[in-house]
């Protein structure tokens, strides 16, 4: 029974991470799947979301900290909104110079902004605490939930050990619920919007900007909306991540975890399809976690093991592009469906 609980606890941990990735994938799906915007700076938005929320909700700087700003101890929801807003503003600023140009330019501009963000995280210690990172980021309602309710239940003598162990992990269940609720909400937004005339314009732009323009649509404006909304969603994912892991620093948001995996998830699941984006996230995160077992079996060092896993995932991406470019689910044939 305890073994079973252990697995269950692992699954919760797995689902939380995969759920956060699924939110990121949905953000990318709006940009790439719906509109054809090539964003390879996802890590930057992910990081900005995490830091913004952490600074808004986290504790004030301690005596050992370099930073002199932040720690407003605001509610979690405010943190998420702030994360979304910060990412939206950055997306807007990148969009202005490059959204009128060919898609490659957006790609390189997003890459550039991600790099600049990484430099700021590393160097601006007054804001980001530099390499020491931000610590003690509070998980939402952890104190009341874990501290009172579970503390009472888990030591209750009538409960068997496995149940106590199960309950001691109870807060994660609550966090998972929060993640899934948000994921569901964002799923609802992206599904509803892609089936609406708004989404139709985005897809038209993806297919042929000239035609969309000739139909009287303001292509630049729609691309901007897509870029900004996608970025805001990525920011929200960043917020969740920060509040889940409680500690973030500049190295948390490497291009690999922040950008590459998400691309693979979306392509594998089926870009242009929200269900595909979510499915892809869970499957690829599963593959990622699964390869961990293999590299552990091979007894490789941490970095080597990670490299081997990325090599495998990279080959997988190329094979998908060659053999099944539409991904597992692919786009639905007729997307516009309001009724």
């Amino acid at each position: 029974m305890e073994f079973f609980v252990g697995i269950l606890n692992y699954l919760v941990f797995f689902a939380i991470t995969a759920g956060i990735y699924a939110i990121l994938s949905l953000g990318l799906n709006i940009q790439w799947g719906y509109t054809g915007l090539f964003n390879i700076g996802i890590a930057g938005f992910f990081a900005v979301g995490a830091y913004t929320s952490a600074l808004l909700c986290g504790p004030p700087p301690g005596p050992m900290d370099w930073r002199i700003i932040g720690g407003f101890q605001l509610p979690f929801v405010v943190g998420l909104l702030g994360a979304a807003a910060a990412c939206g503003i950055i997306a807007l600023l990148i969009g202005i110079p490059v959204l009128r140009l060919k898609e490659d330019y957006l790609a390189i501009a997003t890459l550039g902004i991600a790099e600049v963000i990484r430099l700021i995280l590393k160097n601006e210690s007054w804001l980001t605490n530099s390499v020491w990172g931000l610590k003690h980021i509070p998980s939402p309602w952890q104190v009341p939930i874990q501290g009172k309710i579970f503390a009472f239940l888990k030591t209750h003598p009538l409960l068997p050990a496995w149940l106590q162990s199960f309950i001691s992990n109870g807060y994660n269940w609550f966090f998972l619920a929060l993640v899934l609720l948000t994921l569901g909400l964002i799923y609802w937004v992206s599904e509803k919007s892609i089936r609406s005339p708004w989404g139709r314009v985005l897809r038209a732009i993806r297919e042929d900007e000239v035609v969309a323009g000739a139909s009287g649509k303001n292509v630049f404006f729609f691309k901007m909306q897509s870029l900004v909304i996608g970025a805001m969603i990525m920011g929200i994912a960043g917020g969740f991540y920060a509040h889940y892991v409680k500690f973030i620093d500049a190295n948390t948001f490497e291009p690999l975890y922040g950008t590459f995996l998400i691309w693979v998830m979306l392509i594998a699941g089926g870009s242009g399809n929200s269900k595909g984006a979510i499915l892809g996230s869970f499957v690829i995160w599963g593959v990622w976690a699964g390869t961990d077992l293999i590299t552990a079996y091979l007894a490789l060092s941490g970095v080597r093991a990670a490299s081997l896993r990325i090599i495998a995932i990279g080959i997988m991406l190329e094979v998908i592009l060659l053999k099944r470019p539409q991904g597992m689910l692919g786009e639905e044939k007729r997307v516009s469906k309001m009724f």
Binding site: K192, P197, V201, M338
Partner: protein, 256 residues
């Protein structure tokens, strides 16, 4: 229909491409409610003129007036909103979208194009969508594309794509429709239907300005024909007059 009032006026328009004057001090008027044909030999500047009117190209000099309002230099989407629709000579379909979606994209001022409305005011958006879909289905029915409504546009044959292009121009409900060789690649039966449709739309107050080479089609449809040569208007008149005009034959055959 106000006989004689000018809907589109082009004044001394100029456009060069690397030293080559594609449109050269071109002045043209299109009367409201007319079906005006635009002819001319290859390289006369017809398609360039269309691209200038619709904002795809920016003119070097000159003015374009639509409904007594200057539209020179407006971006494409604003020109469309003023009420000028166009078709492309070579069809440009939205490949990975269905035929129906291709059409439903076109109407302007859709409430659901604002994301806020499509998320939170779905009732009114839905009503409008239903209206637009009915309209699109009508157009498809008319052009005999109805069976293909759920097909990807990329899977259509080239003749069907040409029809789709026409269907899209019908969806836009513009006041002035520019058709770039509507007749090319369409079978005669459909062509007749198309003619009838254009006539009907004209009776409802639409104006047509079309590039066409098929003289039969022009004779049948157009009340006025403008012949362009070397970037400007050469002759204007009824189809009968044009056919007899020596200058036109000269332009087509080249000077001796």
């Amino acid at each position: 229909m106000t006989e004689g009032s000018v809907i589109l006026e082009i004044k001394k328009l100029e456009k060069s491409f690397g030293g080559l004057k594609a449109v050269d001090r071109c002045s043209i008027e299109v009367k409201e409610g007319s079906i005006t044909g635009l002819m001319g030999p290859n390289g006369a500047g017809k398609t360039t003129l269309f691209n200038l009117i619709t904002g795809f190209y920016k003119s070097d000099k000159g003015e374009i007036w639509f409904h007594e309002e200057e539209i020179t230099g407006l971006p494409v989407h604003k020109v469309v909103r003023k009420g000028i629709g166009r078709t492309f000579q070579i069809p440009r379909e939205l490949r990975e979208m269905t035929v129906l979606e291709n059409l439903m994209l076109v109407p302007d001022n859709q409430k659901g194009e604002y994301i806020w409305n499509s998320l939170f005011r779905s009732r009114s958006v839905r009503a409008q969508e239903r209206y637009i879909q009915d309209k699109a289905l009508d157009v498809l029915e008319f052009l005999e594309l109805i069976d293909l409504r759920e097909e990807y546009a990329k899977n259509l044959s080239s003749g069907q794509k040409k029809l789709l292009e026409l269907a899209k121009s019908l969806m836009a409900e513009p006041k002035l429709i520019l058709l770039d060789e509507p007749g090319a690649g369409i079978n005669p039966t459909l062509m007749k239907k198309l003619n009838r449709n254009i006539e009907q739309l004209r009776e409802r107050g639409k104006t047509f300005f079309l590039i066409e080479h098929d003289m039969d089609l022009i004779t049948y449809l157009c009340d006025t024909v403008i012949v362009m040569d070397r970037g400007r208007e050469l002759v204007q008149g009824t189809p009968e007059e044009i056919k007899k005009d020596e200058r036109v034959i000269e332009a087509y055959l080249g000077r001796a």
